[in-house]
């Protein structure tokens, strides 16, 4: 390995080693699941239509998990993502209804779709910005701030619609969630594009590194001239936008928008994010890991449904996978023996390093 050939941002951190290891472990798990179920239910699990099904379901949960991952990079969390997704969907749907969009066709429909999706995402951006404001400027702990806004955004959605679902989107919009290109759902393509863009943002832009640094040690970040507030604001805008895009996919797949969709996604998104190797205390996490984790869990869930196992057994399996992956990691770490134990995510920093938002004058 030549020094100059090494690239600063890709070989960051131990991380490097640790993340690679968790990535390869995830990959092995994914393959095991794939092969296992293909053998157990030949013809059904490994059918094109089933993979298509998985490709249809991954984007929503995948995007929400990525949002959680981004928030966790800074040591925070965003519990309002599902509410933001629904708010986005409702905005778009309301605009379509108001514009009589269901009847629109051709270029007009495409134009409306672009316009109204943009409006929906703007709402997501604003919602994310407000989260960021609470966290970065007011200084509310992220879990509290977003628990509040989760209720608030959901409440706004209920008050706005009176609780009813909204219909009336044109086919041009619904195509996003329903159509396929060369057998691949458009929503999955969208998901991959967004994931790649996010990976570029996190790995190749200054912001990505700053995000991890703020998560790793906010005080040192301030002392390095990083504008923590701005970074945190941006973080929650990004999580909001990711949630918003998930909302658009949800609405286009469901052909409707409702304030109550996706409540079960929140905990699942957290599970996927941590299974994907994200450290909830900040500083570590990769897009690829989260994507792999999302695909793996969706495959397991499909496999269980196909094998006619009960949903309760799937819940158990999901928990077992999470714990087993972690235990294997720990055992592996020990077996590597005398090597330095990589710092446990939980180990608080050594004394003297008080992880506290740095005193910010003025």
């Amino acid at each position: 390995m030549t020094m100059t050939g090494l690239d600063a941002t890709t070989r960051r951190v131990v991380g490097v080693l640790q993340e690679r290891r968790s990535l390869s472990r995830l990959l092995a798990l994914a393959l095991a699941v794939l092969i296992g179920f293909s053998v157990l239910s030949p013809g059904v699990f490994s059918s094109v239509i089933n993979f298509q099904t998985i490709a249809f379901t991954v984007p929503e949960i995948g995007l929400l998990s990525l949002a959680i991952m981004v928030a966790m990079l800074t040591g925070g969390i965003d519990l309002s993502i599902v509410s933001i997704a629904n708010l986005t969907a409702l905005t778009t749907a309301t605009l379509f209804v108001a514009a009589g969009g269901a009847e629109a066709t051709g270029g007009h429909a495409v134009l409306l779709t672009v316009l109204f999706v943009a409006a929906g995402l703007l709402v997501a951006l604003l919602a994310g910005l407000f989260n960021g404001f609470l966290v970065a400027v007011v200084g509310v702990t992220p879990i509290l701030a977003t628990l509040g806004t989760m209720q608030l955004y959901n409440g706004i959605a209920v008050a706005w619609t009176g609780g009813e679902a909204l219909y009336g989107m044109p086919d041009a919009f619904l195509a996003i969630g329903i159509n396929t290109v060369a057998l691949i759902p458009i929503s999955f393509v969208t998901f991959v594009l967004v994931a790649v863009a996010l990976a570029v943002l996190l790995d190749r832009s200054p912001l990505g590194t700053k995000l991890r640094l703020v998560g790793a040690n906010p005080t040192a970040a301030r002392f390095s001239g990083i504008r923590n507030r701005r970074v945190l604001l941006t973080t929650y805008v990004v999580t909001g936008l990711l949630a918003g895009i998930a909302g658009v996919l949800i609405a286009s797949r469901a052909a409707s928008a409702s304030p109550d969709y996706g409540a079960s996604y929140l905990l699942l998104a957290i599970v996927v994010a941590v299974l994907g190797g994200t450290n909830p205390y900040g500083g570590f996490g990769t897009v690829l890991g989260v994507v792999l984790a999302a695909v793996t869990l969706e495959m397991v869930s499909s496999g269980f449904n196909i094998m006619r196992l009960s949903p309760f057994e799937y819940t158990i399996a999901q928990g077992l996978i999470l714990v087993a992956v972690m235990v294997l990691d720990a055992v592996h770490r020990r077996r590597r023996g005398r090597a330095a134990p990589p710092p446990r995510p939980e180990d608080p920093a050594p004394s003297g390093v008080v992880k506290e938002e740095m005193r910010e004058p003025g």
Binding site: V140, L144, A145, A159, L267, F312, T315, G319, A330, D347
Partner: protein, 347 residues
């Protein structure tokens, strides 16, 4: 100069180590506002009702407090709670006997502690991140409960528990409506005192704070960290078991689908109460105030005349406002402390 410093110190004392003062003040402000909007708000019946609504959450929150102070987090406790509560009833039913109140409590506590030990074992034995372990186990526990123990709503509780369901400490007749204070406030208050004593006055309790302050230092100081963590998660399970059987008793039925999903609310109440999500900080008083503030917010909207469709939004607004006030208060306190420090440096 000197008086200024005294004032600052005095104000800090009033705020409390974990900002309990600000929280109490926030509650007073919210109550005052509600009373202005609707004078009927300020009644014994409202008070009792809010207290009753906080009982189960408070017990859960005590467990969450312990685990958060220790620097960990547990999201499996509501599932442990309902697991213990529901399973206790199932055992009583299938065994065809009435365990009585104490018997039921004992069963629930044993089940809760065992499940908590599973968490603790995984966390302490393998040194795993607590959030991940408890996310995993909550799925496992819930799945096992619904798949193998039962998923049905049980309407008929064993007689002892059923009777306790409607036992009040005292009743105040107010016009048409009777204000009732459920007898469970007694054990809950005792539990709060016990946990406070445990955390403040025992080597175990200080060890919990030490662990949350700096785990490596705790190890170096000779704290048996593994045993400590085992005990912490077992204790969380135990408290969850108590909360679970209380929940079943208060709702007068056993429904295994309930409670799951309330974890984030309760964690938020504890954090609102001044516990640091990073560990090492938190108090029973703050926790109770946090739970009460959220209960006040959630359970007064009809009295306030908020229309049905706006209630969720109103809860959101009040929550956001509440946590913001709390955060701003905490920030002031930090600023005040710095001023005092500077002065002392010069003196």
């Amino acid at each position: 100069m000197n008086t200024g410093r005294k004032n600052a110190a005095w104000v800090n004392r009033l705020r409390g180590r974990n900002n309990e003062g600000v929280l109490a003040l926030t509650i007073l402000v919210v109550v005052a506002l509600m009373t202005v909007v609707n004078p009927d708000f300020f009644t014994v019946s409202t008070l009792f009702s809010i207290l009753r609504n906080s009982l189960v959450e408070t017990v859960f929150a005590l467990g969450v407090l312990i685990v958060i102070v220790s620097g960990g987090i547990d999201v499996s406790f509501p599932v442990i709670g309902i697991f213990a509560g529901y399973t206790t009833i199932v055992i009583a039913q299938s065994g065809g006997f009435d365990p009585g109140v104490l018997g039921a409590l004992l069963i629930a506590v044993v089940i809760g502690s065992l499940l908590g030990l599973v968490n603790g074992g995984l966390i302490a034995r393998f040194g795993l991140p607590t959030l991940i372990v408890t996310l995993g186990t909550q799925g496992i526990f819930r799945g096992v409960l619904l798949a193998y123990i039962g998923s049905r709503y049980i309407a008929e509780l064993p007689a002892g528990i059923a009777q306790l369901s409607t036992t009040d400490l005292f009743v105040v007749q107010q016009g048409q409506v009777a204000a009732r204070l459920h007898v469970f406030v007694v054990p809950v208050v005792l539990l709060c005192l016990a946990v406070h004593w445990l955390l403040q006055r025992t080597v175990f309790g200080r060890g919990v704070y030490a662990l949350g302050g700096d785990a490596e230092s705790a190890r170096r100081a000779g704290f048996p960290v593994v045993r400590l963590q085992l005990a912490i998660y077992a204790l969380v399970g135990l408290l969850a078991g108590i909360a679970g059987i209380m929940h079943v008793t208060l709702s007068r039925n056993a429904n295994p689908y309930e409670l799951a999903g309330t974890e984030l609310d309760i964690i938020a109440a504890v954090v609102l109460g001044g516990a640091s999500i990073l560990g090492g900080r938190g108090s029973v008083l703050g926790t109770v105030l946090g739970v009460v503030l959220i209960a006040v917010i959630k359970n007064s909207l009809i009295l306030m005349g908020v229309p049905g469709t706006w209630q969720r939004a109103a809860v959101g607004v009040l929550l956001v406002a509440g946590v913001s006030i709390q955060a701003l208060g905490a920030r002031r306190k930090a600023a005040g402390r710095r001023a005092v420090e500077l002065e002392e440096a010069r003196a």
